[in-house]
């Protein structure tokens, strides 16, 4: 029983971690290349989920919906970059925070206006429902395993994109010296739009995939956004490798903490109290982890700008 629980929760942690990575990789790329802090990243997560839910409902195909969701998020991302974000690159961080906070308000209320306040239904297709039996008699949902698989595929694809392709070369060059690659004749503003749309698309994909697991509603992107911030602060802002490691660390620590801390406190406390203390402490665990890591490495585990 307890080994089964451990395996199951570890898998849950990795699954949360991979979805966080989809969010965090976009955030960290945008910061690394353009030096921009983007609070509206959670809105792309929401846009992806809503577009997927709407298209899936009308076409009946989850895969088409998923593609549409990712495309919609990327397109909205590109549009936002062209209209607003572009004006913010040379502004102080305070302006960036406020303008993107304004974008959150606009996106959240706009979505509420169009789709209403009640959550939208989105469920995984029938061929992805059900369980698989893993070694040790652990029964685990196929859909969650699929999420882990998607996370691994995207990680590899991002690695190849960034280290092997021409676009990746430009992104890396942009991270180390923005002015220089402009001087070398690279169309910087196009590069920025592409990078921003790529990040938005990944966030949209994460929103759609998680939306089928939980629910599609206004404000769904905000808790994930803040977790993604913790991830990139731990990993080092601007580093994809750091984002991957940070995401897995946060996912696993958060999931295991929520399960095992109440059990741990039950060993020497009355059960009702132990549940409260355990839950409260578990909710704080990743922030404590972040504080400890920052106390030793103020720039995160892998800082790109060192």
């Amino acid at each position: 029983m307890s080994v089964t629980l451990l395996i199951e929760q570890l898998l849950n942690g990795v699954q949360l971690g991979t979805m966080l990575f989809l969010m965090a990789s976009g955030l960290t790329l945008v910061f690394g290349v353009m030096g921009l802090i983007n609070l509206a990243h959670g809105s792309f997560y929401m846009v992806g989920a809503y577009a997927t839910a709407a298209v899936t409902a009308s076409t009946g195909s989850f895969l088409i919906g998923l593609g549409a969701g990712m495309a919609a998020a990327a397109m909205v991302g590109a549009l936002v970059e062209l209209l607003v974000i572009r004006r913010l690159y040379h502004r102080p961080h305070l302006d960036q925070v406020l303008a993107t906070f304004a974008l959150i308000l606009i996106f959240s209320e706009g979505t509420r206006w169009i789709f209403g306040s009640s959550p939208m239904r989105l469920s995984p297709p029938s061929w992805l429902t059900g369980f698989v039996t893993l070694p040790g008699d652990t029964r685990y949902p196929i859909y969650r395993l699929m999420l882990i698989g998607v996370g691994i595929v995207i990680s590899i694809a991002l690695y190849v994109l960034i280290s092997k392709t021409r676009l990746g070369m430009r992104i890396r060059a942009g991270e180390s010296d923005r002015e220089m690659i402009g001087a070398l004749g690279v169309n910087i503003s196009k590069l920025y739009t592409v990078v921003f749309a790529l990040g938005a698309g990944l966030a949209g994909l994460a929103g759609a995939l998680v939306g089928a697991l939980q629910s599609v509603q206004v404000g769904m992107g905000e808790p994930v956004l803040i977790l993604a911030f913790v991830v990139i602060v731990i990993g080092g802002i601007g580093s994809i490798k750091g984002a991957l490691l940070g995401a897995l660390l946060v996912g696993v620590v958060d999931t295991l903490g929520r399960v095992y801390l109440p059990i741990f406190f039950r060993a020497f406390m009355p059960p009702s109290e132990a549940t409260g203390v355990g839950a409260a402490l578990a909710a704080m665990l990743i922030y404590i982890l972040m504080a400890v890591i920052l106390a030793f490495k103020p720039k995160g585990l892998f800082s790109a700008n060192d």
Partner: protein, 354 residues
């Protein structure tokens, strides 16, 4: 205009010292002073009128504006004067609120707040609550600031946000004081002589608090400490070269800023008779920043102007459409992209150091 230039020219040549006062600066001050006095005067006058014509709702609305303005005065000290973009001031606002709530809860139940290592009873005395709120918020800010101020820029923004979220989730999942349902304050906490349950009296208490907070900020920024803080914002290497380490200066400013916001939180909980994790949410941190920016960052009266504008929009636009935040977003986007100096910059002219 030509007169002014010739005067300042002769002054800069150093011919006559007693002709030095620049008339342009004086006129500038007059307009600014006029706007500021109008703002304060209206804030004080309107609730009095409303009270005596029986409109208690508007008295409480004015109290709300005053308290939010006070919280923003605290944040303005960190962001505007100290250059520390804290995205987590809701933590102090909420903690202040919870101090009022928890203290009243124990005073009502006649149970001690803690028994070990020494016994701490609850209290419904506002003076005790305010002191405790400022003290605890200061301590929390000391801990958070000590870690966060080791970093700068985006890291600082995200870390202050993350710590505030930590407090938020803690309050959300800690069942003793209501968890996510919040904690009611059944009877407003009391003061020795005056009747705090009267709406106008409570407004005057809040108003006094706001004036004190602004006076303290103003005095602080005119002192040596304020000069050091300004220099820490503009050029910390230069400050260090002058033999003053920027870190403790920033930390002290951060702690004072949190204590002011915490006191506002305690006042807010007593105004509403209710405290919940919403007061701790990152949305409130964001709104507080919005208020500071809308009003004009780093200006003494900026937070007040911003709070008036924000609460008015919330109340009147919110009465017209439930999607008022969409319009708030558009206004904010416009202000950030096109009008960098806020309402006070627009009404009262730019500050000299801008």
């Amino acid at each position: 205009m030509t007169n002014n230039t010739s005067l300042s020219n002769s002054a800069s040549r150093g011919t006559t010292v007693d002709a030095a006062p620049a008339p342009k600066a004086d006129r500038h001050f007059d307009r600014k002073g006029l706007v500021q006095m109008t703002l304060l005067g209206l804030l004080l006058l309107l609730p009095v009128v409303a009270y005596f014509s029986g409109q208690i709702y508007y008295v409480n609305l004015a109290s709300r504006i005053t308290i939010i303005a006070m919280a923003a005065v605290g944040l303005n000290l960190a962001i505007g004067y100290g250059g520390m973009v804290s995205f987590g001031h809701a933590a102090y606002f909420g903690l202040g609120g919870y101090v009022a709530g928890i203290s009243a809860y124990h005073a009502f139940d006649l149970t001690p707040f803690m028994t070990w290592p020494f016994s701490v009873p609850g209290s419904d005395n506002l003076l005790v609550i305010w002191l405790a709120a400022m003290l605890l918020c200061g301590l929390l800010a000391l801990a958070i600031g000590a870690i966060s101020l080791r970093t700068t820029g985006v890291y600082f923004i995200m870390i202050t946000l993350a710590f505030a979220q930590m407090i938020y989730y803690f309050a959300n999942s800690w069942p003793t004081y209501g968890g996510e349902d919040g904690l009611p304050i059944y009877i407003r906490n009391t003061l020795p002589v005056v009747d705090s349950s009267d709406a106008l009296t409570y407004f005057l208490i809040c108003f006094t608090g706001l004036i004190l907070a602004m006076a303290i900020t103003s005095r602080l920024m005119k002192s040596r400490f304020g000069a050091a803080l300004t220099m820490a914002r503009l050029n910390d290497v230069r400050l260090a070269t002058a033999g003053i380490s920027p870190y403790p200066i920033r930390l002290v400013a951060f702690v004072i800023s949190a204590a002011i916001t915490g006191l506002a939180g305690a006042l807010y909980a007593d105004l509403n008779g209710f405290v919940s994790p919403t007061m701790l949410s990152w949305h409130f941190s964001g709104e507080l920043m919005v208020i500071v920016i809308l009003g004009g960052v780093g200006r003494l009266y900026g937070p007040l102007a911003g709070a008036v504008l924000f609460v008015m929009m919330e109340t009147f636009l919110g009465g017209v459409t439930q999607y008022w935040q969409l319009f708030l977003g558009l206004v904010l986007l416009g202000v950030v992209l096109f009008a960098k100096h806020g309402v006070m910059g627009w009404l009262a002219g730019r500050e000299r150091n801008e």
